[in-house]
Subunit: 238 residues, 6 copies
């Protein structure tokens, strides 16, 4: 039995609210149950130095948590003077996941900067971030098309992410915080709309996991991500 | 005529939403029109080193803006490795304003850390922060009383804040961003429920201001803060 | 009775020594009683990046205290790796105060960097800094005129600053350290030679202050600043 | 055909040289072909603050590259003042991998700090680091047993790591730099001696990868890691 | 001919002004011609962590330059967020030089922190700092004796320092800035009152120097330091 | 008797292994007994900003120690976020020593960056670094000549370094760690092939040293450096 009474293969309630704040080119509040993340996409008409004059664009991401998005207050990274290793790991993952579905040459010499800021955390903040960021980036790209700056979308596919893990010896989908903090194995899976993998990051927190367990986890992840992509499409068609 | 069509002495629509996120001891979304700030109050059963063993508590604040809370994206302070002078100035102001209405000895040897995070900015983020933070801290203190950790409230009074300024030669109340960026004089006023001043910070951005102008600005501020305190009381009584 | 036996409306002995060190374009030792600050003005024939090509100049300030300028030694900010919030607040205030009396377009595409370094502190370091920095900047500008780089002074007016506060229930002018550390309300006022306000920063350290008290404080400040400007003029005419 | 003429399922020549430097409790030079990493294990008779008094030990790792271990010189992280996101990601991975095979309670209240410093890089530095660090940590633990500080080894199993990837449409084992920089999918796999997974990190650099491809990659990784563990055992038995 | 018309073996005018600022236990303005450094000695009744409980004291130093103590403005180290290599080298030298003449066991479990802040630079700031710091530390120690905290002076000898160098092919004593920036060899020598060496730091800026030249330079340095120690004694006897 | 049983004027066994790693333009493992340092020389076809367009090149050095190169583990400077004062002092010394024998105009507008990384420390790491770095830089320059980028060597002479000190009242050459940590006086001497001094840095750790002692130390240093230069020539001729 899961603490939330969900079925093993059941997502939390997922909501994608577009135009959540008003300044960004794309702004989405993504909720995976009690996990809430504001994802904004900013378009800038320049590229980082290493891409100057290469005829292509760039997509990158930054991630943060409000200090009291968590059960006990975390120290504010800005006042500590650096981002933790965990933060950097997550924002690099978000950036790579998004770049996997963007044709950077079609994007042209501009960049999209995605900010994922967790305002309430209950497990799965990185997978919610990727799932919401895709919608934000879609809105930003649609804005470029509407403004005549792009004639064709550089988006090659959808991308979404979910966590899976072995909790009390059973594989479960979309771990919330009570499951995440107690689970033996935790895997984050990023997939495209066509069902291929962009990232797999599996970690045995306690007992190492077998290949059979991994296959069960991937089955769950595939199911969950398909559902997330349906929800992304529904949100974008509103 | 103000860009928002407001009267010179008219506040923007102000909303105070309690219990906005679920982990903090006090959590308030404060909205001054399009300016939106999440204020959380965290209670920790310890005090900073300089107060150890002195029989009193502490109240302090941190402030941040999401990178795309503004019209053009600001660099994330956590990734830059430091808080700007502006950020530090604002969080010091919020902390002082709150301490002015808290009896630190009655609070006992514990501290309340307030986090004010701007998710959408349209001028007046520091005054909204102070006004919302007071409600968050009230909830945190009520929680301590309910839990039997305090028998008596250490709150001595309400505190709220508003900006006033001279915009196109006229004194106006509660500047939004178009006014703030064009005004000649900008003053932030922090007052208690009893009508006394906690902080006055007036700056001539362009032309220095006369004492007569200052008196007009203070009249406006007093009016506005009285209205804010009525709204705080209404929010806290729900 | 004040600890220094001064009258409530009496400044400490103020001295402005020009050409105090030999390298800077303007170099002034300002003394407000036992508070001693070296103010230097450096002219650089460039502007910060955000002003490149805009046809105007810039004035900015930095502030520091020698570690043992105070009664107990403070940690050296350079070895700690950052400037405190207080330091940043003060140097931003000095910069804004000076810019209020400089016509930046007339200054041309160059900047004046003012350094205010406290060698001995006894309260009022920021107001002494502003008062002395004006003299240093005047010398630097006169040097530009003498060198034929400017034909007309970009200075629009004098600027000076003083602190006022409520000490043992009475409003007093120009707080020294014993008063400053014990006072209930502390206000720093920056005014021009024409008697208008550039900055007002009032803080209730303990009990909030009434509007009547604020008016008394401003009366004192106006008197003090008038005297300071007389002293600036005398120093500059030597 | 691979640039190195290796078979698709062929490791580079792997060497594990124990007692490579003389001060550390464990010191191993690990070579995966031209990739050379010094792994040292340091035993300290204390634990990090979050584990004080919990009756268990800790294992952690740091990673670095000599500036000219690579083809073009990288900036020295110590002089830049921070570790890159990549460095932090790798050292966190090494630490988790080692902890997966150490019984931290049996280790007692002490910590083992592993340093992995790359002196020459040709792809696979993180997998070489994990594979060599296991040998270094084994030596450090054997030293504790020999010194009578431990009566029983806290090591539960071996752990080793290898990279696999899809290079020119074919799955290959143990990517060297020319393969790594050109491959479409890159996966780092960490496994125990009993054949279970500790970590799987797969990334599609270009085209997302299918589940079938992932299975091929895991087959290769299992083969490679079995061979590495044979080599670890041989090294430790000398 | 030297730019200052001094003889090759002639010091600049040296002045040592005690009690220069009022808060520190020792406070000396040292002037070597136009080089002016404020040296303060602060006594703290504690020791750094590495000396806790070892029954001895510590002496350490920090060094800084006001940004415009030099001909062109240097960036403020506090705002840059770090001390330069040169600054650290100098403050380590000052600390070692002072410790060479202090019996740290006789000092007891307390530390003396010396701050040397250059307010005007014209070459030789480190040698002026050491020479002035000795007087400041002497005053601080005499204060401890007067207060009954020490019964016997922990000072074993005097210490002073001077620079020598080869300027236009001739050895000269006490280089000022025009000489220092043009000289081929620069040597800083620190000696005790008994005529022994504490530090010798010689650097060939251009052409390497011969042993014969070094001997000439040391002759000059010995002469200069003897004169400085006479001046220290005179200052301390006033 | 020395702990190593060496004669007072006897160097440790010195080895210079060229082409130690494969990427750098010059790569040397230098061993002074148990002290082992990897010295690499990197050629970059640019110069630092302060030399742009001046028609000359630059040579600079960085220094580091692997955390467990020493008997007890040192904290990693990259994870601490800054280089120690000692590290900066040493790398500045290495850079100056190398520049003393390079004709920077003949080098042309390019720079050589030398990295000296200590993999095992037993005293004398800075002198080993200078001695090995000269060989690395020679290889890099020979590569430039071989590639036709230079027609003539900018090397003016050899340079090498050794430590000398007074250990148990006797002057000794090439201190190892047991001697270095116990010696009263420690002197690092850098000389050219023609027998002139580039740097002398002598420090009395305990008792100040006399001029007679210094002369004895310099005699030893001259002898040692002559031997080192013979070894450099032998290594470079292989």
């Amino acid at each position: 039995m899961r603490p939330s009474n969900r079925q093993a293969n059941e997502l939390r309630q997922v909501r994608l609210t577009r135009n959540y704040t008003r300044h960004a080119e794309g702004s989405v509040l993504v909720e995976f149950g009690d996990t809430k993340v504001i994802c904004t996409a900013t378009v800038e008409e320049n590229v980082p130095p290493f891409l100057k004059g290469k005829g292509q664009g760039w997509v990158t991401a930054e991630y943060g948590m409000l200090p009291r998005s968590t059960n006990s207050r975390m120290r504010r990274e800005a006042s500590q003077g650096k981002q933790s290793g965990r933060t950097q790991e997550i924002q690099r993952l978000i950036g790579r996941s998004l770049r996997a579905v963007v044709d950077l040459e079609k994007l042209g010499e501009r960049q999209i900067l995605v900010d994922c800021d967790v305002i309430q955390a209950d497990g799965g903040t990185r997978t919610a971030s990727i799932t919401g960021a895709f919608v934000a980036i879609s809105d930003a790209i649609n804005g470029l098309i509407a403004a005549g700056k792009l004639t064709e979308s550089p988006l090659k596919d959808h991308v979404a992410a979910i966590s899976v893990g072995i909790f009390e010896n059973s594989p479960v989908l979309d771990l919330d915080y009570p499951e995440d903090s107690a689970c033996e194995t935790d895997m984050n899976v990023v997939m495209t709309g066509s069902g291929d993998f962009v990232e797999i990051q599996g970690t045995a927190e306690g007992v190492p996991f077998s290949r059979a367990e991994m296959n069960q986890l991937l089955d769950l992840a595939e199911k969950g991500i398909k559902e997330l992509i349906v929800l992304q499409k529904a949100a974008l068609s509103q």
